[in-house]
Amino acid sequence: MLVGESLKNGQGTDVSSRCHKHEPFEQAPMYVAVLTYLGFGIVTLFGYLRDFLRAVGLEKCNIAQEREKQKDFVPLYQDFENFYTRNLYMRVRDNWNRPICSLPGPVFDLMERVSDDYNWTFRFTGKTIHNVINMGSYNYLGFAENNADFLKTVADKVRQYGVGVCSTRQEIGNLSIHEELEQLVANFLGVESAMTYGMGFATNSMNIPALVGRGCLILSDELNHTSLILGARLSGATIRVFKHNNMQSLEKMLKEAVCSGQPRTHRPWKKILIVVEGIYSMEGSVVLLPEVIALKKKYKAYLYLDEAHSIGAVGQTGRGVTELFNVNPADVDVMMGTFTKSFGASGGYIAGKKELVDYLRTHSHSAVYATAMSPPATEQIIRAMKCIMGKDGSTEGLRRIRQLAENTKYFRSRLKEMGFIIYGNNDSPVVPVLLYMPAKVVAFAREMLARKIGVVVVGFPATPITEARARFCVSAAHTRDMLNQVLDCMNEVGDLLCLKFSRRKYSPQPDLCDETDFELDS
């Protein structure tokens, strides 16, 4: 019923909204959850043993601890987070913060580092690991490149404007190149006006407080990014969390909010703001945009859409989730995005109606206090956006978008076929592969590096404790050979570590199989 309404109001067709329904997340067999808890339990016990040895004095403590005089006061390092850091993270931290010594393109170079004391300290051997395939950088359209021809305009602008702006937008930092960029962003998204900021995280955390305040309600998705949560908390509004992508939960909350109003006084809420993301970076799932818009219109709420990962990466011409679902961009009240991912620069934008953006120019903390975006970054975004829109006279942008879509489809379908559990929508270039057990996560990262593939693995604080994963980011700059190499290594490592947990029956594409006989249960 809701979908039907949105189809009448928006410009959607039946086919496009049905195709993009995201699949339910597959659950692993029960023994996997049991073994994950077992693994954590055993390592926790050893953590207690090590803490005891340190407390007694049999072992030197390498991490921060209180001084002798402070030991009678409130303990500083006894909470779970410090315990986890000391006893679990420190043992395996060679898999994170790996120093890179080249451009983060489709392949990169890593500095080799070893540890002599079980990852408490590192030293560089001096060697470099060359041509490691990069499956972790958010380089969706491949604009993280150092080709001199493409970067000629950037070099020219550096000569013209310098590198530092040395002021905020409101004082003397409003350069003509910023105006040009904002015009271009507004054209790209199909909205009236846009404003850009120097940092993506700060765009969210500093602008949500300008939009909502005390007496307003924020309905935020369960899996929203920290910047959105921080912005919501800073604003002082009431925050209610609805289950991830669950429209029934959202509708129930909206009904309750409209009927009951504010908690004690029962006055109506000043504003109700629904905060969602285009693509959720830990799950790879896409927001159900037509349904959210239908709900927002029915209950007269506002919608804040954070397209950090989806702008430039999804949609026929790279315009993001509004294009993916064929929705009118004017229906989304506040469109936010970042330039870090698909455009190879840094910074964020907020776009929407002219009144909204003009209000933010004066009232946003980021506009008033933060330094403006530097000219080379601005020019990089301008050239990337012109490339995507086709304004530089070539079809390079469209080719990259098509290449990304093709790479995404290929990579996801091959991984599913191999038997890994993958989360997320079929169109999203963020591919989380579930690994579950803590030791397997670590072994996976090390094995892939030994095969010269750099992956990002994510564990407990960022994900639920039983759902550790490796997150792959497919890029338009990856060639089919690179993807095949990665997939072959995944196959090998998946067998070596027993990571293929999927129980789904998956019938592969007809062009991938050569034989005609079927085995039902081999």
Partner: protein, 128 residues
């Protein structure tokens, strides 16, 4: 141990020459790509893994044990502590079952035979 942990495949390649005695070649034909039903049979994994001999296979099993229990991330002396505790627990279980299970089974059999075997006798005794 110094440096990054040695990869198990590196360990496996320095296996001494036991191949004469136990050449366990578990190579099968790789199953076709379009298998419709996916199961996690150990047989499939062994088929794809191409173990050259028993030593390699046992080393891989030990590696799986390290990963599943989470011991993989610990230092070697902690691994030894855990392994010895687990081994002694299992040894105690085995010994206890060896000593007591036959006795318990025999007593249980006698008890149940006593119940079911005794019934016709008691009714006959009642009638006579």
């Amino acid at each position: 141990m110094a440096g990054i942990e040695v990869r198990p495949s590196q360990r496996l390649s320095t296996v001494p020459l036991m191949q004469g005695l136990f050449s366990f070649s578990m190579r099968k034909q790789t199953p076709p790509m379009h298998r419709i039903f996916r199961t996690l049979h150990l047989r499939d994994l062994r088929a794809r893994m191409n173990f050259k001999n028993l030593r390699e296979y046992l080393a891989w099993l030990y590696y799986q044990y390290l990963l599943i229990t989470g011991i993989y991330v610990l230092e070697p002396w902690e691994k030894s502590i855990f392994n010895s505790i687990l081994f002694s627990a299992i040894a105690m279980v085995v010994y206890t079952s060896y000593v007591f299970v036959p006795i318990h089974v025999r007593l249980a059999l006698e008890f149940f035979l006593g119940i079911f075997g005794g019934q016709p006798e008691s009714t006959m005794a009642l009638m006579t």
